[in-house]
Symmetry: C2
């Protein structure tokens, strides 16, 4: 009658994601029986079957699928309310900028220098952590490469450039001016996946690169390991023992600034304006990067 509690949603999401009551209970730091009971009560309360349990597997009904999607959104919104309230209570207001280290295309110092509305607080995160940070209110604005899930976000493109592959200079492929994905057979990415897949699909959601760029460069220099990166990253890291080459069949990627769509914050609006101006002047207007020969 009186509405769902976030606890119920958290429990359901845990079970739905794990598809296993025991593991879900462990993840939630509780015992399995009360979790089973909570889910049963949730189903009673909604009057809807969410899960199909056999003793061997747990699967979602279609109602369960829709609840899983909506519950994630709702939990993000609740977390956002909490984080933003916490932040709003701090004595000195700041703008929290989420970005991936080294993926600022060299704009960051100019941005910090030009943006004077608020002090900027940096949230350096791994790949794919910027969007969640925006969604759950830990960040006000983010700098990140496309593609990403834009739902609930507004974005503005800054710089576009082709994706390059970083090779050991000694690699035979370095003799070519351009390589195809298939040519990369035999090479691997730092995490072990074959390079010729081109990492077209995002790495699994739980994957986190624990390597920063310089560590990756070291691996690449030694050989047999390659790495993909936008040219607006590569051109900032020229290295004698590494060659960057454009890759046929990889989409170009764009550095974008993104922020919550419902944001009415003038500080964010001013930030976006500043960043856009800096990007436009730094890469004098239209995509100076796109289509140009690769660095090195």
């Amino acid at each position: 009658m009186s509405g769902l509690e976030t606890r119920q949603l958290r429990y359901f999401v845990a079970v739905a994601e794990e598809r296993h009551f025991g593991r879900a209970a462990e993840r939630l730091g509780m015992a399995q029986p009360p979790l089973s009971r909570a889910i049963r009560d949730l189903e009673r309360q909604l009057g809807v079957q969410l899960l199909i349990r056999t003793t061997r597997q747990v699967t979602l009904t279609s109602a369960g699928e829709t609840l899983l999607a909506d519950a994630r959104v709702a939990l993000d919104a609740v977390a956002a309310a909490e984080h933003r309230a916490r932040h709003a209570g701090r004595p000195v207001p700041t703008l929290r900028l989420a970005l991936k280290a080294d993926y600022d295309a060299g704009l960051l110092p100019k941005i910090i220098d030009a943006y004077r509305t608020l002090p900027v607080e940096l949230l350096l995160g791994g790949h794919g952590e910027q969007v969640p940070a925006l969604r759950d209110g830990r960040a006000d604005v983010a700098l990140l490469p496309t593609p990403f899930d834009e739902r609930g976000l507004d974005t503005e493109p800054l710089v576009t450039g082709p994706r390059l592959v970083a090779l050991a200079a000694a690699d035979p492929l370095a003799a070519r001016t351009t390589v195809r994905l298939a040519d990369l057979a035999g090479r691997r990415l730092p995490d072990g996946t074959p390079a010729e897949t081109g990492r077209t699909q995002q790495p699994p959601a739980n994957w986190r690169s624990r390597l920063d760029l310089s560590q990756i460069f070291n691996l690449v220099e030694v050989g047999n390991i390659v790495w993909f990166l936008p040219d607006w990253v590569a051109r900032r890291f020229p290295r004698p023992n590494i060659a960057y080459r454009p890759v046929d069949g990889l989409e170009p990627t764009t550095l974008a600034v993104a922020w919550p769509a419902e944001s009415r914050s003038p500080a964010v609006a001013a930030f976006v304006r500043t960043v856009k101006e800096i990007a436009d002047t730094s890469f004098d207007d239209e995509s100076s990067a796109a289509g140009q020969p690769a660095v090195r």
Copy 2:
């Protein structure tokens, strides 16, 4: 540590909106002391002062203002998860269409006839109830006149037309081909507000017209009462004793179809496509209504 509960958000929203613990407690169906304690605990948990209490008044801090806004969207998201899950569990799937009675510009029968993807369930609501119904998951799609708060929604315009005033045919103003707002001095809307304000600002959020169009028409015919409505409504209700006249200084209004922005439902997409086609053919393409002489 473990995150906010929706109960806490509901309590805070009640107090923040009422700006009074006693009334808020009454609205929540509980006593005042536990509510005071719950808010105090919430502030402790967040480490942020949300309210400034004197014994005479309660005001929001700026952190409280941001939490109020964010809590409303979070509560909507939670309610949406609940409503959509309930609906998804029903044996026969339907598309829930929210609209204001008589504000379909005559499209509704054609829509129902042409849209065969799912059975359509109508949610007839008063003015301003469509957007909340979309936000909290009671409706999948809505038909409603601009302007409205589009945050979180995607929209597609269907028909645009000027806003007319409905007058008694005997009213001296009916002799004119067009009237200005100031001319309406002395006349009143059915709810008693002076007509010359033009209802430029929306009626107060709690205002609900308990009158349907035919009741309003009866009042207008008797005289001294006027009513504003889009021409794409008026042209569907020609009446001998009522004159419709365009009003200088009122923006035209557009009938739009709207749906939750994050919706990935193919049924909604198909519905929007169908409605758009019907509107385009019914009003052969560009705004046949706009700029044309008013009905009658």
